[in-house]
């Protein structure tokens, strides 16, 4: 089975496994206590925090471990909104943000806040000028992903951060899809990431709150993680996440360009091999490992099932694969075909042979499904 769904999750990195096992034995004590074992756990946690801080170019005391990327998103947004309530209750979000961001925005709106959604172009990219124009004197927070999770398009974080700085609005960047692979441009105030996307263990997220950023916990008071994240610290998880990030980011310096060339190969060949297909997302300003295309006249779920049968694990933003009946909000906002959608995201070490095998079986799979669906003409 060729695993092409790295955007959902990476398998555990060997460096993470080793660090996790060691920390389960050596870092299980309560890091807030004062005896030897506790101090050891505290030291491991501090070292992990320092490593992650270096990776994001921030200070350790700005870096917090959460129980997931989603929790980091929730805390970043709700905490910033809560702290700036006197400034106003206006929130700006990109139209193709991850559902955790949009659901938090919807909650904010239900509780009386205002939300402006900034649309995207055909490649899924927000226009920095349009984003800047959405900022108002009562804007409490702006949110923009570093890169889109469904189509891989990089967002103009640097330009938007500059506009936010000028308007004195904090910018929250959801870096879940790019962390460990692509550096996030500076200038943001809050950031969220998720360890399992870079080969860390599940159940570990990262929340960064820069100094001079106002933030107030939206949750009941708790003394853990610098009063930012409630609950007993997952020291082994944090240690493994940090070890994975360090190893992964180093590997990606080499492997990133190689994966990007494989993505170019898919981007170039799929439209030649399959009729009536559209490769979507920005061809250049994109994540190195992710490519998405839509095949006309094919049900997304059926294509995924067929590719699974042929030995390929891929994902889809098509409505039919989701629990909801709505099509993917990303594809909808981009104005591209929402059915027959395939997202290929290459994990570390993907072989060119597997990519070529995928390209060899794809045309037949699409043709079979089109015949089954009753397509006779093109």
């Amino acid at each position: 089975m060729a695993y092409f769904d790295a955007a959902s999750t990476e398998s555990l990195h060997p460096a993470a496994r080793e660090a996790l096992v060691a920390a389960l034995d050596g870092g299980w004590a309560d890091p807030q206590r004062l005896y030897g074992g506790a101090r050891r756990a505290r030291l491991l946690l501090d070292q992990a925090r320092a490593k992650v801080a270096v990776a994001f170019g921030v200070r350790p005391d700005e870096t917090f471990f959460t129980s997931s990327g989603t929790q980091a998103v929730h805390l970043a947004m709700l905490g910033a909104l809560s702290a700036r309530r006197r400034t106003g209750r206006h929130l700006v979000v990109g139209a193709v943000e991850h559902s955790s961001v949009l659901h938090t925005a919807a909650l904010h709106e239900r509780e009386g806040g205002r939300v402006t959604t900034v649309g995207v172009d055909r490649t899924g990219r927000v226009d920095p000028e349009e984003f800047a124009a959405a900022l108002r004197p009562d804007t409490a927070l702006a949110c923009l992903q570093s890169a889109n999770h469904e189509v891989g398009t990089l967002q103009p974080v640097a330009e938007v951060a500059e506009a936010c700085r000028a308007a004195r609005v904090p910018l929250f960047v959801d870096a879940a899809q790019s962390a460990g692979r692509v550096e996030v441009p500076a200038g943001w105030s809050l950031l969220a990431a998720s360890a399992h996307k870079w080969g860390g263990p599940p159940g570990v997220g990262v929340l960064v709150i820069r100094k001079n950023t106002r933030w107030r916990s939206p949750l009941p008071e708790d003394e853990r993680e610098g009063r930012r994240v409630p609950g007993f610290e997952n020291v082994p998880g944090a240690v493994a996440a940090a070890a994975a990030l360090e190893a992964y980011a180093a590997e990606m310096e080499r492997d990133g360009p190689r994966l990007s060339a494989l993505v170019d190969r898919i981007r170039e060949r799929v439209p030649r091999l399959v009729e009536d297909v559209e490769v979507i997302g920005d061809p250049v300003r994109r994540l190195p490992h992710l490519v998405t295309f839509s095949c006309l006249y094919v049900e997304g779920e059926a294509l995924l099932t067929e590719l699974d049968r042929l030995g390929f694990a891929v994902s889809s933003g098509s409505s039919c694969t989701a629990d909801t009946l709505r099509p993917s909000h990303v594809l909808e906002a981009m104005g591209v075909i929402t059915h027959g959608n395939v997202r290929v995201s290459l994990p570390r070490g993907t072989s060119a042979t597997d990519v070529d095998r995928f390209l060899a079986v794809l045309p037949g799979a699409v043709a079979r499904l089109r015949r089954t669906a009753g397509m006779t003409t093109h």
Binding site: E278, L296, Y297, V298, E332, I337, H339, G340, A373, T376
Partner: protein, 99 residues
């Protein structure tokens, strides 16, 4: 208040009833109501050849995905998306055959 007023000024004045559509009418209407995408798109692709070039074909569908997929299909296939008409249930999408 200032913000709200500025927003209001940008809004296009709304008429009591939308102006009646006076453009060309479809010569063929396909009923894809109750069918999920991509079926409405497949039906459109299969039957657009039945209308003469320059004439309009309409697809009725109630899968919300069709609102994105029909215009996107027109763009990909260089057909001319004319309009979306709201029906009591779903929408009718009008497409002019260009070739």
């Amino acid at each position: 208040m200032g913000l709200r007023r500025r927003r209001a000024e940008r809004e296009v004045p709304r008429e009591a009833t939308p102006p009646a559509y006076t453009g060309p009418m479809p010569v063929l209407t396909i009923d894809a109501l109750g069918r999920k995408c991509p079926i409405p798109i497949i039906m459109l692709a299969e039957r657009i050849g039945e209308v003469p070039v320059g004439q309009i074909i309409a697809v009725q569908a109630d899968d919300v995905a069709a609102r994105t997929d029909v215009p996107a299909w027109c763009r990909m296939k260089s057909q001319d998306f004319v309009r979306e008409e709201t029906l009591p249930r779903g929408w009718a999408f009008h497409i002019r055959r260009t070739y």
